[in-house]
């Protein structure tokens, strides 16, 4: 077995077997799944309590009589009930409100059509859901009344006819002439998620490479190792090993998140069906393929629409191409930054000294994140173009642009430049590294690094 693969093996195994890795592997997907499922579940739990609102309707607009008993016409929901009260004074209610068990008292004055104001009394702040529900009901009813007052023929028919709900579907023209439906929100979500993922993994695992190098240096194991292997092999072995750890973590997350979301969608299926908001699903695009299948199975109606949106969008952005680009930028972006991180690690004696050398590495990474919203708003603009070509920011920015269909030559230029830069970064890191790892107890400056670069060893 070659030496570099031995090193890769050690770097990989020692990290994958660590408790922290296992905890992160399990915790990550739980967090992701929780982000997707929890809002729905929480909303569900909150609404379990049945609220009853007493209605004193002086205007009689929202009251109907059946069998001599007054009933309010405000539509009820599972957890929100309305009771019409007759011949009850507001003042008397106020006095013993807590003993009535009502959530609130709705007072509709007789002149509501003119005053456009109803009153909701309660001993606590009524929730926004409740007041919105009541407002909608009142608005609808009063608008109807006003329409009726105009005495239009066939009003009901006309109203039915004009009732519309608009969804804007963007259609993209592709080369082969086919047009597919795409949802801009979903596309942006895909780009954003992919870019963020790459940023996160480069940062976490790049720093892991750096800590590994510092550990080898401070524990003095490095001199023992370099008598058996070349420093360059040691460095590359570490970078590749840690890169594989990152990839493993990523795959574990995808699989576990898929299982978790699938599992929870079975348990909380009904809830998700009603509650999953569009943004939530769009934000989870990386896992959408997994969670879409089980979700779709038991989701009729609106949810179905959202998911088919995601599906058609995935088709329209060529999922295969996107995944390939993700893997490319993920691995090569990591390779580039990891070698720079390794270089920093080799130059310092302990982690407290890394600050001065970290800045040039972290600035382009953070710049990528900062520019993401701008790039999403104008994925064809000069800002998006240049930063998706410049190698230090391209792994993050190009992933944001990818779902918006990037011209082939721009892709090729960006990828080519990235690969070239990796050669440069690895060469540079290798030179600094082999001098740095054997240099102890010296305060290293940029000038010093420049000298190391010119050493002929």
């Amino acid at each position: 077995m070659s030496k570099i693969s031995l090193i890769v093996q050690r770097e990989y195994l020692t990290r994958v077997r660590k408790k922290s890795f296992i905890i992160m592997s399990v915790l990550g997907p739980i967090l992701f799944a929780a982000l997707m499922v929890l809002p729905a579940v929480l909303a569900n739990l909150e609404d379990k309590e049945v609220k009853t609102v007493a209605v004193i309707d002086e205007s009689m607009i929202l009251t109907s009589y059946s069998g001599g008993k007054a009933e309010t016409t405000i539509p009820e929901t599972e957890y929100l009930k309305f009771v019409a009260l007759q011949d009850v004074e507001l003042e008397s209610l106020k006095e013993n409100f807590s003993s009535t068990g009502y959530y609130a008292v709705l007072f509709i004055p007789s002149n509501i059509i003119n005053s456009e104001r109803a009153l909701l009394y309660s001993d606590k702040q009524p929730s926004l859901d409740v007041s919105n529900h009541i407002r909608n009901a009142l608005e609808g009813e009063i608008e109807n009344l006003k329409l009726v007052a105009n005495d239009i023929e066939n009003l009901d028919e006309i109203l039915r006819e004009i009732e519309t709900s608009i969804r804007v579907s963007s259609i993209k023209w592709t080369k082969d002439g086919e047009s597919m439906e795409s949802n801009t929100g979903v596309v942006m979500g895909i780009g954003y998620g992919a870019g963020l993922m790459i940023y996160m993994f480069i940062f976490i695992y790049g720093a892991m490479v750096m800590r590994g190098v510092i550990e080898e240096k401070t524990s003095r194991i490095v001199e023992v190792i370099v008598s058996s292997v070349k420093p360059f092999q040691l460095m590359m072995g570490k970078i590749i090993g840690v890169g594989l750890v990152a990839l493993t973590q990523f795959l574990v997350w995808i699989v576990l998140t898929g299982i978790l979301v699938a599992g929870s969608s079975v348990v909380f299926g009904d809830t998700l069906q009603q509650q999953v908001p569009t943004e939530q699903v769009a934000g989870s695009e990386l896992f959408a393929e997994q969670d879409a299948v089980p979700l779709q199975a038991n989701q009729p109606g609106e949810g179905d629409q959202i998911l088919s949106d995601i599906f058609t969008t995935f088709e329209s952005v060529h999922f295969g191409k996107l995944a390939a680009a993700f893997v490319f930028y993920f691995l090569f972006g990591f390779l580039m930054y990891a070698s720079l991180f390794a270089m920093v690690g080799s130059a310092v004696d302990n982690e407290t000294e890394v600050q001065q050398f970290m800045l040039p590495i972290t600035i382009p990474l953070i710049l990528g994140i900062v520019l993401m919203p701008n790039v999403m708003n104008n994925p064809e603009g000069p800002l998006a173009f240049w930063f998706s070509i410049i190698p230090l920011t391209s792994p993050v920015i190009m992933m944001v642009r990818m779902p918006f269909e990037v011209p082939a030559w721009e892709m090729a230029l960006s990828a080519g430049l990235l690969v070239l830069t990796i050669f440069g970064a690895v060469w540079l890191a290798g030179k600094i590294y082999r001098t740095g790892i054997l240099m102890y107890g010296k305060k290293v400056t940029y000038k010093e690094l420049w000298k190391w670069l010119r050493y002929n060893n």
């Binding site: 020692t14 080898e216 003095r220 001199e223 008598s227 102890y440 002929n456």
Partner: protein, 312 residues
């Protein structure tokens, strides 16, 4: 025959010349002492031999041909600055280092078992490195240095961090390795271990070679013709009876007996002294006083360094 030779090695670091035309020849099957005060350039020379750094000029050859990368990997090198991965388990770590040296996993396990039993550390196998004391870690490092049975071994300050019992254990093993045919380069500034172990030495000071040769020859060369005689009888008889060629330096008396230190004049023969002494007193012991390597080291280094020259 020389196993390893370094010829006219020069290495500059920024403003400072670490090695200035240093040459060493390491005879095959010997223990070769690479001596010198701190900062003399020993570690730099060793790093050059190991090709961790390259010399500016000069050559290093093994058995007459330039060292290849494969030769380097065959060397067993115990660096002065040494450590282990703290979080790894002892056995796993030892196997990893052995495999980096090109031994298969199975062979490594077998050989490690042998060494672990020899050093009586078999029950450490599943401990983590960080649970071991520094001396314990040094044992692991020694084992992993010799595990692949290299024909050339380089030990840089091997005894630092060991207690006297383990130093003896290690010395025994080093001598045994030499007897089994290995050639050993041994770098230190601990001179007493040099006398016990080394056959040849090179003394480097201030980036230059200042003394080299066989240990016995060097000690004889630095001999000051002083004889130590243990005797019984009247000390004044010696003072009166001895020829002028034999100058009595001191006569001491202790619990065991009396000891006289006598300096021979350049034309005096030792046999003459013995004959003369036999007529005067009862000889209990007779030794030539050879300077210790420590004395030679200090003497040579001090006379070679320019600072001291100016002072004297």
């Amino acid at each position: 025959m020389d196993l390893l030779t370094a010829t006219d090695v020069v290495k500059d670091f920024q403003a400072h010349r670490a090695l200035d035309k240093v040459s060493v020849s390491v005879p095959e099957g010997s223990i070769f002492g690479l001596l010198g005060p701190n900062g003399a350039g020993k570690t730099t020379l060793i790093r050059i031999i190991n090709q961790i750094t390259a010399p500016d000029t000069g050559t290093v050859t093994l058995k007459g041909r330039p060292l290849s990368r494969e030769d380097i990997y065959r060397i067993g090198y115990l660096p002065e600055e040494r450590g282990l991965y703290k979080k790894m388990k002892v056995g796993e770590h030892a196997i990893y280092l052995a495999r980096l040296k090109g031994i298969s996993s199975n062979d490594a396990r077998k050989k490690l078992k042998y060494w672990f039993e020899k050093f009586e550390i078999g029950d450490w196998w599943n401990k983590k490195i960080e649970e071991l004391s520094k001396g314990m870690q040094q044992k692991i490092q020694f084992i992993t240095t010799v595990i692949h049975e290299p024909e050339l071994l380089i030990f840089d300050e091997p005894f630092s961090g060991f207690d006297p019992i383990n130093v003896n254990l290690l010395k025994k093993e080093i001598l045994k390795l030499r007897d089994d045919g290995a050639t050993i380069i041994f770098s230190t500034h601990n001179m007493s271990s040099v006398e016990e172990l080394c056959d040849h030495i090179t003394l480097i000071n201030d980036s230059r070679t200042i003394l080299e040769g066989e240990v016995n020859q060097i000690r004889n060369k630095f001999s000051s013709d002083i004889i130590s005689v243990g005797f019984e009888g009247d000390p004044s008889a010696l003072e009166k009876g001895l020829d002028r060629k034999f100058e009595i330096l001191t006569i001491k008396e202790n619990g065991i007996g009396k000891e006289a230190r006598i300096k021979l004049a350049s034309d005096a023969k030792q046999n003459e002294l013995i004959t003369a002494l036999a007529g005067l007193t009862d000889i209990k012991s007779y030794n030539e006083v050879l300077p210790s390597m420590n004395d030679i080291f200090i003497q040579v280094v001090e006379s070679a360094s320019p600072k001291n020259k100016k002072a004297s």
